[in-house]
Amino acid sequence: MQLSGLEKDERQGFSRSLPQLYRFCFLMTGDTSKALRAFQNTLREAALLASRDQLPTDRLWSFHEARHQCLTIVKGDVQPESNTMPEEAISSDAAARVKQLVPDQLAAWIAAAPEPQRSALAFFYLNEFTHREMQNLLDVRMDELADLISHGRTQFQAWLNSVTEA
């Protein structure tokens, strides 16, 4: 059966976003097995909806669903307290310090952040969405989104200073 160009684009679009979808799950949970579970649950839900012709073509849907799955999976875990972490201004050597990290450390740090900051940072550093899409995904105002990301940066910098060498 020949697929039309549009159908091909849609299918490719969905499958193209899957690596990013997994990375998002990993950032949200900080754990490979949990990330895998959330990722698989999301795809199962997508397949179920697709079988009923109810799967939205909106690419944000899968990330929205993945966020929901991640939050459900980590619900039983110890939840982080709302922001009391120290903050430090971004230093000029921050990029060099980040290079000393491995992805698991970043994921562990983001996964330990309170909601909705955890989701905001995960969406932002996926480098996949515009600020309007992030507002839509997180259901927050522009100033709230900016606040979540801004504090995330300075808190991460403070943590970075404590775990890396200049």
């Binding site: 950032l27 895998l36 799967l55 992805p103 550093y125 996926l126 600020h131 900016a146 940066r153």
Partner: protein, 261 residues
């Protein structure tokens, strides 16, 4: 950085895209351009950008486990369903909007049709039908003249200009006339004629409307009916002439048709 920028732009800068490509969002482009013109803000923006790029690179290096990659093949078969127009049309929001538009259109058409039946002086004409039904002979100044003379009579006695009876009723015998002020304070002339159950009224027209202007060559009658009386009104030179007759609108139409022959 942020003290040099407006609150809105500061918020946008915090969410500045990590890629170097120009953002498609105009507000974001404007905020970035403004920040780049202020040295302190530009320096802070560069530091923020380097920081974000480094973290984004780290995210890109998250390895995808083999178990997840196995799903990629099957997931290629999952595709979103486009809503058909039938499904979209059945959406409650669309249905509610369509219903509201229908109601509005219906109301608009109703008022438009109502308006079609209205004409300048129609409200006065309806009120005067009530007057015609309750008038007594003693209320009139007795006259015994042809209706054609009434124009001069009203002008000479009451200074009412153009209160002329149309030529097709010129031979009617006027038995009485009176002048009174209606609810709007306009002067109205009422004439009883020898023919039983027929009365004439003359009154200044409402704001003249181009659509209802009467051509000199042809008399346009507009009808109203109320309280067992029917009336036909025509306008000429800013004065409405109304013939009121006991009966129905159809009877009056037939009567006027006979008179016109």
């Amino acid at each position: 950085m942020k003290r040099w920028l407006s609150r809105r732009k500061r918020a946008l800068i915090e969410c500045a895209p990590i890629t170097d490509a120009a953002p498609s969002d105009r507000a974001m482009r404007s905020a970035l351009e403004t920040a780049r013109t202020i040295p302190e803000a530009a320096a802070a923006l560069t530091a923020q950008h380097r920081f974000d790029v480094a973290l984004s690179d780290l995210v890109r290096h998250i390895t995808i486990p083999r178990e997840a990659e196995e799903w990629f093949v099957n997931a290629a078969l999952i595709k979103g369903a486009k809503r058909s127009w039938k499904k979209t049309a059945r959406h409650p929001a669309i249905l509610a909007t369509a219903l509201a538009v229908l109601v509005l259109a219906g109301t608009g058409i109703f008022f438009f049709l109502e308006q079609l039946h209205e004409f300048p002086g129609s409200a006065t004409a309806k009120r005067l039908l009530g007057v015609a039904a309750t008038s007594r002979h003693v209320q009139f100044e007795p006259l015994n003249t042809d209706a054609i003379n009434l124009g001069d009579y009203f002008f000479m006695k009451f200074q009412l200009e153009h209160f002329d009876i149309p030529m097709q009723f010129a031979d009617f015998r006027a038995r009485g006339a009176r002048i009174f002020d209606d609810e709007d304070g306009r002067r109205v002339a009422q004439v009883v004629v020898a023919e039983r159950g027929v009365q004439f009224f003359l009154f200044a027209a409402d704001k003249p409307h181009s659509r209802h202007k009467t051509k000199l060559t042809r008399t346009v009658w507009r009808y109203v009916a109320d309280e067992g009386w029917a009336a036909a009104v025509t306008e000429r030179e800013g004065v409405c002439f109304m013939i009121a007759m006991r009966g129905t609108e159809a009877e009056l139409q037939s009567y006027l048709a006979d008179r016109g022959r």
